[in-house]
């Protein structure tokens, strides 16, 4: 017990000292819309409840954040649905926005205007709780109505005791150090634990693979206790708009090592990932490193679908592409971002 406690303390200290980031972490996010207060709530789950047009007038009103046990649903375990609408002004267009949903006990799946933006933990039958994870989801701009109404719908599963959106600084946030992505790669990727080099190929058929949210550690998405190799894959469209010879592929932070393939070709990586992990190469420091990879623009195919495959090795603990932003920007923008950040910080 005593060692447990000490471990926890050391962990907390560790998080306090190193667990911050200057990108999408809460420290650098500024709240622009407060979403604490009255939300609509219903027990159960139905597909149409995610839709913005659904009429939730008959639903109960519940205070967020708090457990639903404290709001008249004492003793209820199982599925519940939260809904909330908010207005977003035109001036927020062009900013990188996040929904901070706080802590959800135990599992959530979150939608905005009917589009899934994130999920943490795993629903039954392969139930995994994520009650101690603060949810911060990136909201793709194309899902939002600027100058209009937007609707959040959250499907929650609670296995026992307290349930719901229980605590946190819930709201819509904008990043203080904002890199506006030219190609956004945040969102749903294909994912498979294991290691096979044919998975780097552009033409590889990954339709049977699992879906995973990026950025978020895989432990919160149904792969608890998984360490070792796994692959992420995604396709994206490139219009041919970059004039620079070299552009920057931002992959945020990855736990621990990675190798990046674009259209089957190795373009970047952190740590030595040869046929076998070199014990020396895995220092336990790489997971903290922010990845901004310089890649040749001509590694992308113009006016076509492009494939990105990321081979990840996780030595221990949390794993995966766990922190954003994730996407492609021009070098000019990237340089301005770092210089601006220096002016603010230094």
């Amino acid at each position: 017990m005593k060692t447990e406690k000490r471990k926890k303390f050391v962990f907390t200290l560790f998080v306090f000292l190193f667990g911050y980031s200057l990108f999408a972490s809460q420290n650098d996010l500024i709240k622009i819309i407060d979403l604490k207060g009255q939300w609509k709530y219903s027990i159960g789950e139905r597909k149409e409840w995610i839709l913005p047009g659904y009429d939730d007038n008959s639903w109960a009103t519940i205070h967020v954040p708090s457990s639903w046990e404290d709001q008249g649903f004492y003793g209820y375990n199982g599925f519940g649905f939260y809904r909330k609408s908010f207005a977003l002004s035109e001036e927020n267009k062009g900013k990188t926005l996040y929904l901070n949903l706080g802590y959800v006990d135990d599992v959530d799946e979150t939608y905005i205007n009917g589009h899934k933006i994130g999920s943490t933990g795993s629903f039954p039958p392969s139930y995994i709780t994520a009650y101690n994870a603060n949810r911060v989801y990136y909201i793709p701009e194309e899902y939002l109505n600027f100058g209009g109404k937007n609707t959040i719908a959250v499907k929650v599963y609670d296995s026992y005791q307290y349930g719901g959106i229980v605590k946190g600084e819930i709201g819509i946030y904008v990043s203080m150090f904002d890199v506006r992505l030219d190609i956004n790669l945040q969102g749903i990727w294909k994912f498979k634990p294991g290691d096979d080099f044919s998975w780097k190929e552009a033409g590889f058929n990954d339709s049977k693979w699992d879906e995973i949210f990026v950025p978020a550690k895989w432990e919160d998405q149904g792969y608890r206790d998984y360490d070792g190799y796994s692959w992420y894959r995604k396709t994206f469209y490139y219009k041919g708009t970059f004039s620079e010879e070299t552009i920057v592929l931002i992959l945020g932070k990855i736990d621990d090592l990675d190798q990046v393939y674009i259209n089957g070709k190795l373009v970047a990586g952190t740590g030595e990932l040869n046929s076998q992990i070199n014990r020396k190469a895995y220092t336990g420091e790489q997971y903290k490193a922010f990845r901004g990879y310089f890649i040749p623009t001509n590694s992308l195919k113009k006016n076509e679908k492009n494939s990105i495959a990321v081979r990840v090795y996780d030595g221990q603990g949390a794993g995966g592409i766990y922190e954003g932003p994730v996407g492609i920007v021009t070098q000019r923008k990237y340089i301005d971002f770092w210089n601006k950040r220096r002016t603010i910080n230094y």
Binding site: S21, E245, T246, L266, A268, F294, Q331, N339, R342, Y346
Partner: protein, 360 residues
């Protein structure tokens, strides 16, 4: 008495390990003299554009950064990836054939260096086939023909950092010359002929080396386009003996060679690190790469009036290879004696430490 010796040993071990920790991969900088101080403020930008190598590139809107110091401590914390450093400076004329170097402490992780727009050298490898060189000091030979004396010169350093600290990390940073060239009466550094491999015929003065590559000497061959090469290679150089050296004893200085050398003059073996006196200050067991090569030139081996051919067979066991440090040339006996005395005095303390620790 016995106890005293062991205490001595502990003391020296501590001292020596401190020395090693403070000066990783020591370049014996005591023989180099700084002619331009480059530590101070440089222009800096993260990113990677090929035109940043050129002297005429306008970097006036760049950030300013202190060199040496990791960029993480200067407002670029958490930055990994490419970044460039640029600096302009003037340099006074330097005697012909005295080799000129850019020297810096560690650069984290890999870098290329451009001098007046010319690519000088590269240490480590850039992605996607990345290889770090973060724990090596840098010493790059600057060919005289690209230096503009009494005018503005430009240095641009392209750095790639994989993770953790990045940039030009350690002192010193500057332009250096090798002081030992003062002892030479005839200089042999500069462009030599060079060939990888091993062939006994290459020692012959009649062998035609026209198709061989050219290489800067002294410079480790890793910085001359032969990264990762270990094994045999040959160096060849033609010269005429100046009239004033035709009478009296003369000595051939070949600086330092990594690791073994066999030196032929007009086909005759005149020296090798294995022939150096084991008890002299020039060679200690297992430290061949650090031995100062100086060989007496036999009167019957040299052509006093005609062309001479110097052929050097070098074997590199691992890591750095080749004729990597001067002075290279010919000395008269008085200069030879002064040169020996200087290095004997300079190195005797460390010789003693090393001998105490490693040689019984």
């Amino acid at each position: 008495m016995k106890k005293l010796v062991s205490l001595h040993r502990i003391y020296f071990s501590l001292l020596f390990s401190t020395f090693v920790l403070l000066f990783p991969n020591n370049l014996s900088a005591e023989d180099l003299r700084k002619v331009v101080q480059l530590a101070g403020y440089w222009k800096f930008s993260i990113g990677d554009f090929p035109e940043w190598a050129y002297p005429e590139y306008n970097d006036s809107d760049w950030e300013t950064i202190k060199v040496p110091d990791k960029w993480e401590d200067q407002g670029f914390n958490e930055y990994n990836g490419f970044a460039w450093y640029r600096k302009e400076f003037t340099i006074h004329p330097i005697d012909e054939d005295v080799p000129i170097y850019f020297v810096s402490g560690r650069i984290d992780d890999a870098n290329e260096i451009y001098f007046n727009g010319h690519l000088l050298a590269k240490s480590g490898d850039f992605p996607p086939h990345f290889r770090t060189a973060y724990n090596q000091k840098r010493k790059y030979h600057i060919p005289r023909e690209i230096i503009k004396f009494n005018q503005k010169n430009s240095i641009a350093i392209r750095v790639y950092d994989e993770y953790l600290e990045g940039g030009i990390i350690d002192q010193p940073v500057g332009i250096y010359i090798d002081e030992d060239y003062e002892y030479l009466d005839f200089i042999l550094s500069g462009k030599w002929k060079f060939h990888l491999g091993d062939n006994k015929q290459w020692k012959s003065e009649n062998f035609n080396d026209d198709i061989w590559e050219e290489i800067n000497v002294p410079s480790e061959w890793e910085n001359e386009g032969y990264e990762d090469y270990d094994g045999y290679a040959w160096y060849r150089k033609e010269f005429r003996l100046p009239a004033e050296l035709r009478n009296g004893e003369i000595y051939l200085s070949l600086g330092k060679i990594d690791d073994y050398d066999y030196v032929y003059l007009n086909g005759t073996l005149i020296g090798s690190v294995f022939h150096l006196d084991k008890d002299s200050e020039y060679k200690r067991r297992g430290w061949e790469y650090n031995a100062r090569r100086i060989y007496k030139i036999p009167e019957d081996a040299i052509h006093k009036n005609g062309i001479n051919m110097l052929s050097i067979r070098v074997y590199d066991v691992k890591w750095r290879g080749g004729i990597y440090e001067g002075p290279l040339g010919i000395m008269t006996e008085p200069n030879y004696k002064q040169y020996r005395r200087k290095h004997h005095e300079n190195q005797s303390f460390w010789d003693y430490v090393i001998d105490e620790l490693f040689i019984d």
